[in-house]
Symmetry: C2
Subunit: 106 residues, 2 copies
């Protein structure tokens, strides 16, 4: 139960790192939507992101254990990104935030 005035003393140490990454939450959400998604699909989906930034952010999210990367030795090469369990949890946690953001933009 969460009352409006409840005192919340959570620490965000180490999480601001994830949250503050400009594209991180977007990526989490998009990957969650697709379940499996490839690099260039992400590039299209996240309009305006540069390959470097996307690559960097994906690596960071991998290190955080939020995203899984699976590459296939094919030609042409194929790489698929999926959410880990932690990533799925995070995605659930940001849904209210996304909803708030959407209400706000309209």
């Amino acid at each position: 139960m969460h009352e409006e005035n409840e005192n919340i003393c959570y620490s965000l140490e180490g999480v601001t790192d994830v949250i503050c990454k400009k594209w991180a939450l977007l990526i989490i959400n998009v990957v969650g939507n697709y379940r499996k998604v490839r690099f260039n699909t992400l590039m299209e989906e996240l309009q305006g992101v540069s390959p470097k930034t996307l690559s960097d952010t994906l690596k960071k999210l991998q290190n955080e254990g939020l995203i899984r990367r699976e590459s296939f030795a094919e030609i042409p090469p194929r790489v698929e990104y999926t959410l880990t369990e932690d990533g799925i949890e995070l995605r659930k946690a940001i849904i209210p935030l996304l909803e708030w953001a959407t209400r706000r933009n309209n």
Copy 2:
């Protein structure tokens, strides 16, 4: 209802600005905890923030309409910050995120 694989197409335009600010969510949360809070209390609560950064972030949050600033013509001067309705909504929206963060840090 939110199923795990539901497709969520929210746009975060303009919200990443708020979210990515390093201290923004912390401030929203702390102000929400206190209901009314003064500058120096925030300084203590947000360990490591500089007055400039705090001041800048507060201004930004005011411009976004998330925080209200009320100053009293007293000596010594007194200024109180409170959440606007939008701010309260945002605070509610980030609670799951804070919980997730807390679980994660332990």
